[in-house]
């Protein structure tokens, strides 16, 4: 029997080799899945990974990469800070929705006033909405020791209900001929999050994502708060001995991840999505969990992982339209990536061993 044996110290090789190996395994097993569905696996894989970058429509799809990667990176970095501290915010999707609703509400409240301060005010309101939604599990955890995984996850469904209400009643477009959904921000210049560089798909959300990546990296490596986050995740008792206040740490990490998810929602609703609708959220908050781990909970890694995941989104949509692949198959494909990542990750701390020596002694 093959046994797993703990390494004396974590393998540096596998730390960096894990993500590419996981991607390759996902391609192989995903390919088998696609073949079983009667599709040509090579064509599907090429459509997902190659065409968006170098295919016929790459001039347009390349820009879509940053559009999709931006919110994923922004949310994943916030989540990663919490994950590093052992605080498991699984409800970024809900915080994303609430950020979008709060930010949009501020903009819609002053429609059609034109003022330079409207968009910044909406950004602040968006971050505040996500922060507020994350404070619910944070305070329940610190006061009543509830499990933040369950509470934050369940609050996603509450947020979705509020979203449905918002798009059919309190944020509904009065000139929308009775259709659900808010006014479209693309027709409201003061509140619009337009492209800064259209060919790159760069809007304020993308800027925020890249800047946050750099800031989070500095926080984790140079700042005492980052040290405390890492310490609390690795050795909770040592963290208390160092002087970390566990309550404050939970509030801080949940707050940052909630605010960043809220920001992502705000940039999305005022930009690519354009309006609050019942199905405004597309799962960025959940996919960002995969992105966070794929990036090894390291902010710079997350930026790369965000682009990789965006590729599967953009390429997946292409595969859906061009090859008739069901969108659920793409979601399975993305889930596989996390599965293999965590599976291969075992090799960072463990190695396989054939207990040959022990077997001979036992046979005597």
């Amino acid at each position: 029997m093959i046994r797993l044996e703990k390494r004396p110290s974590p393998s540096r090789f596998w730390l960096y080799a894990t993500p590419p190996v996981a991607v390759v395994l996902t391609m192989i097993v995903g390919g088998i899945l696609f073949a079983a569905m009667g599709k040509n696996p090579v064509a599907v894989i090429r459509t997902i990974f190659w065409d968006p970058l170098f295919g016929e429509f790459a001039w347009y799809l390349r820009g879509q990469l940053l559009v999709k990667a931006g919110p994923l990176i922004l949310i994943a970095i916030g989540l990663a800070l919490g994950f590093r501290a052992g605080i498991w915010n699984i409800g970024a999707e809900g915080q994303y929705i609430m950020g979008a609703i709060c930010g949009a509400a501020v903009g819609l409240a002053v429609f059609p006033t034109e003022n330079r301060l409207i968009f910044p005010a909406m950004v602040i309101a968006g971050a505040f909405g996500g922060w507020l939604w994350a404070m619910i599990p944070a305070i329940l955890k610190t006061r009543f020791n509830t499990n933040e995984i369950l509470v934050s996850l369940m609050l996603v469904y509450v947020a979705q209900t509020i979203l449905a209400k918002a798009s059919t009643s309190f944020l509904k477009n009065p000139e929308g001929m009775g259709f659900p959904g808010s006014r479209n921000f693309s027709t409201y210049p003061a509140a619009k999050n337009g492209y800064l560089v259209e060919s790159l798909g760069l809007h304020w959300g993308g800027v925020a994502a890249l800047v946050t990546g750099v800031l989070a990296y500095i926080l984790l490596t140079r700042h005492i708060a980052g040290f405390q986050i890492r310490l609390a995740g690795q050795a909770p008792r040592a963290a208390r001995f160092h002087g970390v206040n566990p309550t404050r740490l939970v509030v801080m990490c949940m707050g940052i991840s909630g605010a960043l998810a809220g920001l992502a929602g705000l940039f999305e609703v005022t930009g690519p999505a354009g309006q609050i609708t019942i199905d405004f959220n597309t799962g960025y908050g959940f996919t960002a969990i995969i992105v966070a781990f794929l990036g090894r909970l390291n902010p710079l890694g997350i930026v790369l992982a965000g682009f990789l995941m965006a590729l599967t989104y953009v390429g997946g949509e292409m595969a859906a339209t061009n090859l008739g692949l069901p969108s659920a198959a793409i979601q399975v494909f993305q889930g596989m990536l996390l599965f293999f990542l965590l599976g291969v990750d075992v090799l960072t701390n463990y190695r396989f061993r054939l207990p040959a020596a022990a077997a001979t002694v036992g046979a005597k």
Binding site: E5, P8, S9, P10, R222, H223, I224, A225, F227, R230, L231, Q234, A235, R237, A238, A239, R240, F241, H242, G243, N245, A357, A358, V361, G362, K364
Partner: protein
Amino acid sequence: MTGTGTERGSTAARPELLKISGVTKAYPGVIANSDVGFTVGEGEVHALLGENGAGKSTLVKMIYGLVRPDSGSMTFRGQPYTPAKPAEARRLGVAMVFQHFSLFEALNVAENVALGMESPPPMRELASRIRAVSEEYGLPLDPDRMVGDLSAGERQRVEIIRCLLQDPKLLIMDEPTSVLTPQEVEILFKTLRQLSSEGTAILYISHKLEEIRALCDEATILRRGKVVGTCTPRERTAREMAEMMVGATLTPPERHPGEKGPVALGVSDLSVASPIPFGTSLKNVSFTVAKGEVLGIAGVAGNGQDELLLALSGELKVEPDRLRIASHAAGDLGPVERRKAGLVSAPEDRYGHAAAPDMSLIENAFLTGAVRRGLVNRGFIDWGKTRAFAEEVIAQYDVRTPGPEVAARALSGGNLQKFLMGRELNQAPGVIVINQPTWGVDAAAAAAIRQAILDRAAAGAAVVVISQDLDELLEVSDVFAVLNEGRLTKPVPVQGLTMDQIGLMMGGAHGMEVAHHAD
């Protein structure tokens, strides 16, 4: 008084029970046992003597079927002996009492005993057998009591009785006295001698030399996984055996008592509920420590030592007036503010409490050194300065490591402890609180650590040393007190204290007085 063992026949006359020859066991990166061999006769009390890490535990785990040797052979009662698992070892008549008990605190004594048996009899029958065995061997134990309510000594009795119910031919005891008061040790020895006279052999693992001299017929001495000698303990001095065990001559630490200054740490009427499940709450603890003074706090593990450290380090906050650092109320301060006020502390558990095992020594230096060594500048960590601090500690305290960027868990217990002690002592502290300064540390490193503590006291620091090692406390302390069930005895000067007095301060033997005086 422990030296008066019953007279027994010479070891040569004993029939051979267990013979081990050429046993080798390697783990990745370390050879735990190399070509080890010795023989235990029937009814013999045989000591396995060695420092921490000498390979004693691995060796007995192989005898008990928990670990398989890479090579070598064992015979038991004349038959080849290769137990694949502990159940097989028990069936053949080998029983073991572990250093760390495997008991369920929420179950009663009889239930715990039943859990360790292959086919336990009905509960009532088992309870009466427990009573019978415990009376026969002078180890009173109520089968209906909850294990969570028992003292460490009583818990050990549960383990011993569990073994005795199997009627073993060989009983292995791993560091059995580390959790006992001197009186309890005396009672345990009486039981072991009785067992030995009835023909049960005992393999006794310890590094406490006086105990081995009092109890054991033969000793096998291990160093770095190899047998370096055998002796008859009664014919050797403790010092001779220590030098065989360490492989070097030992020098006791030097004392240069400084002038006793004003009170640096004052604790008055401190009561704290334990944050640990089945922990011990502190009850009305009061003491003062002056500058240049060392207060030694003894006590059997689990009597409130961990809680006292948490309350002193600031991890547990108390009312402001209950704790004063240099006469300023400090009870409500957290660890960072207490460090600022001059109090540093070193918890017992190195891997996970005093240090983050997966972090580098540099990061671990920052862990407590941040405040007093000024390693933070406007929230940002000065890694250059932190590395210099780590290197300073490594050099000054002779920490054996490839470099400061190595993870803490890669260091041996003694090396890491030297690093962690140096980290606290090199912060120019006014008050130092240490729980178990040399637990699991080899003799040479332990001597260096004790010397460093004494040097700091001589330089004017007030020191509190919490330890279960009485010899250590008597060596370093000026004043001595005992923590017993969360209560601290009145501190008394160490000069002129006898072991008997200390034993009485430690509460004698828990629940054992009747049995003790009956003999």
